[in-house]
Every structure is written in C-alpha cells, then in structure tokens.
C-alpha cells in the first residue's frame, strides 16, 4: 500500500516523539512516512486529523490503532512529512479505501477489528481505520510502554487490546509550522549534517541522521559555557557559539524559548549560517517588541 501512495512534496526527515506529529500538523494535508528499524509505515493526515495508520515489517502488517500503538511504543520515531495536493490526497484516500466522509474523531477513538487472516500468504492485518469499510469488532485494553520489537505475538496481543482507555502522553506544542519550515530549510543547506531544536529537558525536533543524545550533551555543554560568559560581557545578546573540530562544526544558538544545535561539515559556509542565525534572532527580537 505504501508504494502506491502519491509521493507528495517532502518537507524533510525528522526525529521526534510520535505525539509531535499530531500536535504539529494542524494545517498539514499529506502523508507522514515513518521508518522504524527495517519496517515502514505511514499516517495519512488531513489538517491534524489522522485518517489512516499503517505499518509493515516483513510479512506483518499493522493498521489502525495497532499501528498507532506500535508508533507510540517508541519514544522517538523517524519520519518524513510529505505534503499532498488535493488531487494527491484524494488519490491517497482511494488507495487506503477511506470513505469520503471522514469521522470527526481521530484514530484514537477508532474501532478495532479482530485479526483478519489474509488469503494470500501469512500476512496479518489487525485493525481498521476510521472511515474504512471493515467488519465491527470488540475493544480491549492495552498500553504500550516501551519500544517493542514487531513480532507476530505482538500482533496477536494487539487484537486483545482495548483502545478506549488508550492514554496520550501530553507533549507541549512547542513548534509551529513556520518553525518546521525554517528548520527544514536550514537542514537543506549544503554542509548541514543535522539540526536539532532542544530545550533544557529533551530534544524537540531532529532533522538529520545522527545520534541525538551525544550531540545534545555537547550542545548543552556549549550552552552552559555561553550562559557562564554572557553576564560578564557587555556585547549584546548571545547569537551563537560555534565549536570547530577537524570533523566539522557544532553550532548552538537560541531559538525562541528553545535552542538550536547544528552539526555541519568542515566545508560549510559559516558566513551563511551566521547570517541565518542573526536573522532568526532579529525576528525573535521583533516579535518580543511587538
């Protein structure tokens, strides 16, 4: 099914908690392509409303809340936001066999279908999507707590799961659409390896293929240095700190109430990055003044 979906326009690959997707797609129409280990899946979204959850790993196929639970069982997932035109979206709905009238509820209030044995091969399809014509079924309780390997046992367990009591981990809505666009644009610049938005507690958004924790450790150390020296200098507000090592550059900079960490190659045009960071800070100052 994934391969049949329209490509859409990629906004960029990111790493974030699954709940981030739901809190940051209010104006988004398209597909969120998700990769977890060797499996891949997607969430079809129309203006913040998830319409279809799907994940496939080998011969195991999860749909609806089984797929959602699997996504939620990972603290961080890697995904690509791909915008759809109205035509592409209609085509995606048809491919996913979604009714034209979409229920107002999100996928969390979905109906759950029993295991539907597939006629061809041994694939198992577990749950239905809102709006998809499927037989009715019984709800069961289940709460994912930690990342789970996707096994056939898990698929069977999920058929016993109740999703009426599925709690959502509240995630603060910290980034708006324009922010994601800005971060995506910076990531696309030549020489940018990764870019992260982080706060004092956690990584909020990561674009790029890096291990986030070691990078954040370095970024926080740099930030601590900047915080130590700033009160002793009468040089205006802190714009950025760049650490250059033979492998490349690590840049930390304030970004709204959060911070940016940018990992670049050695060959990057620092002047370009510097201009961007200064512009970002000027925008921030103007917003504060307004």
């Amino acid at each position: 099914m994934i391969d049949q979906l329209p490509e859409g326009k990629s906004i960029g690959w990111m790493q974030a908690p699954p709940q981030w997707i739901f809190t940051h797609t209010v104006r988004f129409v398209g597909v969120v392509r998700i990769v977890i280990q060797d499996g891949e899946g997607f969430i079809l979204i129309k203006k913040g409303k998830p319409l279809v959850y799907y994940f496939k790993h080998g011969r195991i196929e999860l749909r609806g809340n089984a797929a959602l639970d699997y996504f939620n069982s990972h603290p961080i997932i890697e995904f690509n936001l791909c915008k759809y035109t109205p035509e592409e979206f209609s085509q995606a709905l048809k491919i996913c066999n979604v009714d034209e009238i979409i229920p107002e509820s999100t996928g969390r209030q979905d109906q759950i279908a029993p295991v539907v044995p597939q006629e061809k091969g041994e694939e198992k399809t577990v749950e239905v999507q809102p709006g998809i014509k499927q037989p009715e079924q019984e709800p069961n309780p289940e709460q994912p707590e930690k990342p789970e390997p996707l096994t056939e046992e898990m698929v069977r367990e999920k058929t016993l799961a109740d999703d009426t009591e599925r709690p959502l981990v509240p995630q603060p809505a910290v980034l708006e659409d324009p922010d994601i666009k800005i971060i995506g644009q910076i990531k696309k610049l030549n020489g940018i390896v990764a870019i992260s938005v982080f706060d004092d507690d956690r990584n909020i958004l990561l674009m790029g293929d890096v291990e986030i924790e070691p990078l954040l450790k370095v970024a926080r150390t740099m930030l601590a240095t900047a915080n130590k020296i700033t009160p002793h200098l009468d040089w205006g507000s802190f714009v950025h700190m760049t650490l250059q090592i033979p492998e490349g550059n690590v840049i930390v900079a304030p970004y709204h109430e959060n911070h940016l960490c940018i990992l670049t190659t050695r060959t990057i045009n620092i002047g370009h990055i510097r201009r961007i960071l200064r512009d970002l800070q000027q925008d921030r100052t103007q917003n504060i003044l307004l």
Partner: protein, 115 residues
C-alpha cells in the same frame, strides 16, 4: 615582533583586539583599539578556552580547531596556537570573519615561532 603580527589583525576593519593568551587567562601579548581588556574579560576567555577544549574532547578526543562566540554587537574568535597558548580576536559584528580566520591561519606558524 609578536606585536607586529597582532597588529596585522588590528588593521582589519572593525577588529578591536588581537591577543595571545594562555589557558589560565594570562595575557602574553595583546594589541587593542577601543576596548579595555579587564580581568573579567580575561576570565571569560579562560572559560571559553578550558570549556571548549573539554567539549571538543567529547567528540572522540577531537582537537579544538577554533571557537567562535557571537553576540549582537561583538564576536570573539579563539584558535589554539600551540599547547596551552591561544590567539583571540575580538571584533565588532560588522567585521569580516573570513578575513580574520584567514589571517589567523596564515600567521599561526609565525606566532608559534615567537612563543
């Protein structure tokens, strides 16, 4: 002689100070224009040197090539010259950073020979 080399930085547009400094904050030589190098600034430079060296070491013991700290009015570039000696350039944010880093690389050997 070291002063002559440091003066090459000072003649660049909007550069306010060029300093050869030790990790402990002791200034070996400096050339400045329109800026006072007070004890507080020395402590700031020492903090940047020591913290950045430690931070770079988190990258699989990588050596520190350069540190660039920018504020809305001024920036500071710090590069290791040899062992615990560093070259620090302080400039207004209108200065040409490319020119400064070029001069830092170009004059590194000459500075080392004088330390």
């Amino acid at each position: 002689m070291l002063k002559q080399i440091l003066n090459k930085f000072l003649i660049l547009n909007d550069v306010q100070a060029a300093i050869v400094i030790q990790e402990n904050g002791e200034i070996i030589q400096s050339m400045k224009s329109g800026i006072m190098i007070k004890e507080e600034l020395q402590k700031v430079m020492a903090t940047i040197m020591l913290d950045s060296k430690k931070t770079a070491a988190q990258f699989g013991n990588a050596s520190l090539s350069m540190v660039f700290v920018e504020f809305s009015d001024h920036f500071l570039i710090l590069g290791p010259v040899m062992e615990e000696f560093y070259l620090v350039v302080i400039a207004k944010n209108t200065a040409n950073i490319g020119q400064i880093t070029y001069e830092m690389k170009k004059n590194q050997d000459a500075i080392v020979s004088l330390l």
